[in-house]
Subunit: 319 residues, 2 copies
């Protein structure tokens, strides 16, 4: 295999040496009883329960290597899994990662991917505790996130009750805006373009919501209305949103929306991948959360300003 100016390939360096480089010098959190290098890792939980979620990211489908650096892809893959742990009211403690890539992939790119993963995990106080490295015809990244409830009850999608306040924390519509900017070759709006590549979930707020008595919660991965529909279905309730409560997001997106001829509210209500948190509360939401609506008596549905939502029905894997 030819060496090029991108440096040595995975095949040239070899699986075991690449893994040594990926693992060297990383600092594991205290909860990790046994880190990478054996048949399995061992992770301690504070209350005997482990929260677990998994996501697969496929090149060309969930990320593009002509838009994102490997470091960006690493951060995104951890962030979106960590958001699922947050959405249960837990904190992420460890991640295991499987990475498939062509044999001629520069080893330096694998290391940059791992650096991005560690960057994001460290922000959570978590570690990459194990993994697998295999040959595949394109980049495929599979992350499993493990989390600790610290004695809390998990906040499910099924507990919303009529009269609860619906509230959100984290910004909405940024990833969809960034995608539209990238896709339309519109320059500028660097922060929005960046947010499409690397989401910024509101780490720690899932626990805050659980402590404030949240009855249901999810992260906004498919789209705000689509994800609230999961809560509506799971809880057997209606949910009514007020777009006036989302004016801060609308204002922040107005200029970018004008630049690509889009409706910012379509991004806010229909765009996913921001991994904001949305939850329902019988009482007041915690500080920093924005009330955006109310839980209604059934049937399960999401109303936007008292009407059925006609926009993007949300991400579907096989569309």
């Amino acid at each position: 295999m030819a060496t090029d100016d991108r440096g040595e390939s995975l095949a040239e360096v070899g699986e075991f040496t690449v893994i040594e480089r990926l693992v060297a010098g990383r600092r594991q959190p205290d909860a990790v009883t046994l880190g990478p290098g054996d048949d399995a890792a061992v992770l301690r939980s504070s209350d005997g329960q482990t929260v677990v979620s998994t996501d697969m990211l496929v090149a060309g489908r969930h990320f593009r290597l002509d838009w994102s650096t490997p470091h960006d892809v690493g951060r995104k893959s951890i962030a979106q899994n960590a958001a699922d742990i947050e959405a249960m009211g837990a904190r992420a403690t460890g991640f295991v990662v499987a990475f498939g890539a062509p044999a001629d992939t520069p080893a330096a790119q694998a290391l940059a991917l791992a650096d991005g993963m560690w960057h994001e995990a460290a922000a959570l106080g978590a570690g990459i505790i194990g993994g697998d490295l295999v040959s595949a015809p394109l980049w495929v990244i599979s992350v499993t996130a493990l989390g600790d409830l610290d004695g809390r009850h998990p906040v499910r999608r099924s507990g919303a009750r009529p009269g609860d306040t619906v509230a959100v924390i984290g910004e909405l519509g940024r990833s969809a805006a960034g995608y539209a900017l990238w896709d339309n070759w519109v320059d500028g709006f660097d922060e929005l373009r960046r947010r499409h590549l690397v989401p910024e979930p509101p780490y720690g707020q899932g626990r805050a919501a659980a402590d404030a008595g949240a009855t249901a919660m999810t992260d906004v991965s498919d789209g705000l209305v689509a994800d609230l529909a999961h809560i509506a279905d799971g809880s057997g309730v209606g949910i009514g949103l007020r777009t006036e409560a989302l004016s801060a997001d609308r204002d922040a997106l107005a200029a970018a929306a004008a630049a690509v001829g889009a409706d910012p509210m379509a991004w806010i209500l229909g765009g996913g991948e921001d991994h904001a948190l949305v939850a329902t509360f019988p009482g007041a939401p915690p500080t920093g959360w924005t009330p955006i609506g109310r839980v209604l008596d059934g049937p399960p549905r999401v109303l936007v300003d008292d009407a059925a939502w006609q926009g993007n029905p949300g991400w579907q894997s096989f569309d």
Copy 2:
């Protein structure tokens, strides 16, 4: 997308309906506090520790859909991950699974894959507790296994001491034999050909080894000599094997080896993917384990009948 006689595709059925079908009617073990259907699952451990390991399987690389049924692939993907949990002296309790496949994949194949996974998980008393289903240009399956040590110390690769007995349980060379039979279009030897598609790890024997005081253990995934080299390196010891102790495996493989013109001992020492367990014991190995050698003073190396092994150095991801 055209419908063909293979039935409805994943795209036609739709992600959420496929997931409903995959999850319907499955019975989760008691350790699963919260199963599939929310942002994350919750799994209870008996001692506050969770063992975790992950493997990715890529079509054409780790399985072939012209050799294996989807049910076979499901069983294999769970079995090889469960073997990693066994190799720590633990028992598998739950698995999360990410599955990437083309949009035109028959939904019935995804269901058969899940049935195979559940078949294997149920044999362990474990469940498939969560997952992800995404679009990918080829089949990619990523499994993360979670296990319970039940208060045991994990058996690592680093504890072997000179004088320990090296012992194995589970059959060796079967997967390599089966591969050679498939690859050479040799009919017959159905059991061997089947064992290449679906390994049969010796479930429960990892715990038996831990209880018998095993000082080091691993599963045979890359090849017996290659995997023992990991113990030798991890423990800073030499390992000496006696091929006469492997005569039962050699006899079982003799006819197939003759049919393809191979050396059965090359399969036994160099073939991986059988997921037998090999461990070192200061005292007698448990019932059913076969002593095959002894731990020697350093330097780290594996000797076969007192000589360096000249055969297959073991599976490498990017060869």
